[in-house]
């Protein structure tokens, strides 16, 4: 029966990002969310547990304020969560996140399968999963669209450019999942209430045994602007005629 660990991240909801005066990001009124594809990662972990039994824990690295994210994740099914937190963990790069996760996973968690999202909604670096596997010295299967366990081995369908690659790997292993692997269920009120009773193991920076110096240096972040006409027409015949006329004027249809 597999002992499953699922990695999730609490991120800025990009839909709230506005552009400030000189192209800088305005993060004043942003809200946060569970990284989109980590919902698929959690759902898949829950599905596997339902099918094969075993256990399921969640793990995240973040700032102490990310507790809302832990609750959100726990309401989706994991039994408990490991919360590695520090006020300085707001801008970690993938190499640091992977090192921190590896540190805690290898010293505190017994596992057969680790599941990550394909990429996080904010960075979308698609690195933490593969780097974590490498740090733990276990096989990595990335971009998985279908996942199962047979004879103690992971069997996975990877979605590649030229088609599907079906692979097998012994456990323990790490997989990263693409969003079409499942449709995450929406937690109900009961799930949310239960989530607040589940244990959260808080791990602070001074309890880590490895260092995690950044490799990358961010020289700047600028909003990607998009200047468009933003003309709206109605759906009645008149509006449609106006729309077509505009396209003719632009010379993009004839």
């Amino acid at each position: 029966m597999p002992r499953i660990v699922v990695c999730f991240k609490w991120v800025i909801d990009e839909a709230y990002i506005r552009t400030g005066a000189s192209q800088e990001l305005d993060l004043e009124n942003v809200d946060y969310k569970l990284s989109d594809y980590d919902r698929n990662a959690i759902e898949e972990a829950v599905r596997l547990k339902e099918e094969y039994g075993g256990s399921l824990v969640g793990i995240t690295v973040g700032v102490p304020e990310a507790t809302k994210g832990i609750k959100d994740a726990l309401s989706r099914g994991p039994e408990k969560a490991y919360f590695i937190n520090d006020a300085s963990f707001d801008n970690l790069e993938p190499s640091q996140t992977a090192t921190i996760l590896a540190d805690v996973v290898s010293s505190q968690i017994e596992y057969d399968l680790i599941i990550c999202g394909e990429g996080s909604s904010d960075l979308y670096a698609q690195q933490v999963g593969p780097r974590l596997a490498e740090k733990l010295g276990i096989p990595c299967i990335s971009y998985v669209q279908k996942l199962g366990i047979e004879n103690g081995e992971i069997i996975a369908e990877r979605k590649m450019e030229e088609g599907v690659e079906v692979v097998a790997a012994p456990m323990p292993a790490l997989v990263t999942v693409v969003p079409d692997i499942n449709s995450p269920r929406v937690p109900g009120l009961k799930d949310t209430l239960m989530a607040s009773k589940k244990p959260v193991i808080s791990i602070t920076k001074d309890q880590l045994s490895q260092t995690y110096e950044p490799c990358l240096q961010t020289a700047g972040i600028l909003a990607a602007s998009m200047e468009r006409n933003c003309v709206k027409f109605g759906g009645e015949l008149e509006g449609i005629a106006g729309f077509v006329e505009s396209l003719l004027k632009e010379g993009v249809i004839s």
């Binding site: 839909a15 190499s95 979308y124 690659e165 950044p214 240096q217 020289a219």
Partner: protein, 317 residues
């Protein structure tokens, strides 16, 4: 510590990386090395396309995937200490680049869309998108090698120069990876490449049923365009193949005209149409974000608007 390395799974992307690699290697006064997967025949050709060194990876058994090369590549990098290592951002490429970067304890700029040397001429300034494409992040890498994955078509392929000479180095056979390939299923039918299309009509989740895709096709025909889609249409519903999905995790298009039908306009999608000349949208929610990214929009039910629009375009009233 010297050298620029490039690694790509396929021929075209190797040529694209050789192009930018040649520019960087010349500026740095160093050698350019290209990995070549089990096809010795290609070595001379890659040299003529700009490589000084070929790092030849031996053939793998049927049941092994690209990841088997990781230990060999990482070991060679530890020996030769390249200054820059670029990997084509295919799916496998992205995974192995992250794992090699981990072994080498170095930084990796994922899906790098621009790279130039800074004023000192020593460090790469790399740009990538973040927040779904809402922002561009500029990074440098303090550690070596400076690694980046580069999406296909970020650079033009290199131009051939006959008479160039180079060296071939054969790398050792890697130990078998724990990962075994059981089966490979090719995609049923290859869709056309719409990256060069002049007009693109994009189907979004506002389309209710698969049959209704006919309506979108009809509109595409009426405007002389190709059909494309958002990620839910290809990934969740599988109504169109993935290589027609536009956006952050799909392709970028740069048509003269883009028309989104039932597309909400989330940033991850809009990022892929940034270079379109004219952007249009049909959506029944007047507050849909697509209208902020569009030049011309029609607010209305696509099931009423599209048939009328087709008639208007065909000049039948």
């Amino acid at each position: 510590m010297a050298g620029v390395w490039v690694l790509a799974e396929n021929h075209r992307q190797t040529l694209e990386l050789l192009n930018i690699g040649r520019v960087l290697a010349s500026k740095l006064g160093t050698r350019l090395a290209a990995f070549l997967l089990h096809d010795r025949e290609m070595a001379q050709e890659y040299i003529e396309y700009g490589a000084d060194d070929i790092l030849l990876l031996p053939s793998l058994p049927e049941d092994q995937s690209l990841d088997a090369y990781i230990p060999v590549i990482a070991e060679e990098a530890q020996k030769q200490e390249p200054d820059i290592f670029l990997v084509a951002a295919t799916l496998r490429g992205k995974e192995i680049a992250a794992r090699i970067a981990s072994r080498l304890n170095t930084g990796l700029c994922s899906e790098c869309i621009s790279l130039t040397l800074d004023e000192s001429g020593k460090n790469l300034e790399m740009e990538r998108l973040m927040f779904g494409g809402a922002a561009a992040q500029k990074v440098t890498c303090r550690t070596r090698p400076q690694m980046a994955t580069v999406p296909p078509r970020t650079f033009e392929p290199a131009v051939k120069q006959s008479g160039r000479e180079g060296q071939i180095k054969e790398l050792p056979v890697p130990p078998a990876s724990a990962l075994r390939v059981l089966e490979k299923k090719a995609r049923a039918h290859e869709a056309s490449d719409i990256r060069e299309a002049r007009v693109v009509v994009c189907a979004g989740r506002g389309i209710e049923k698969q049959e209704d895709m006919a309506l979108v096709r009809e509109l595409a025909e009426a405007v002389g365009g190709e059909i494309a889609c958002t990620r839910p249409i290809s990934e969740e519903l599988h109504w169109l193949p993935e290589n027609l999905c536009i956006g952050l995790s799909g392709i970028n298009v740069k048509p003269d005209l883009y028309i989104g039908v039932g597309v909400s306009g989330q940033i991850q999608h809009v990022t892929g149409i940034r270079d379109a000349k004219v952007i249009c949208a049909i959506n029944n929610d007047e507050n849909a974000p697509i209208f902020e990214a569009a030049d011309y929009g029609i607010v209305g039910d696509l099931y009423e608007v599209v048939p009328k629009l087709i008639k208007e375009l065909k000049g039948e009233k």
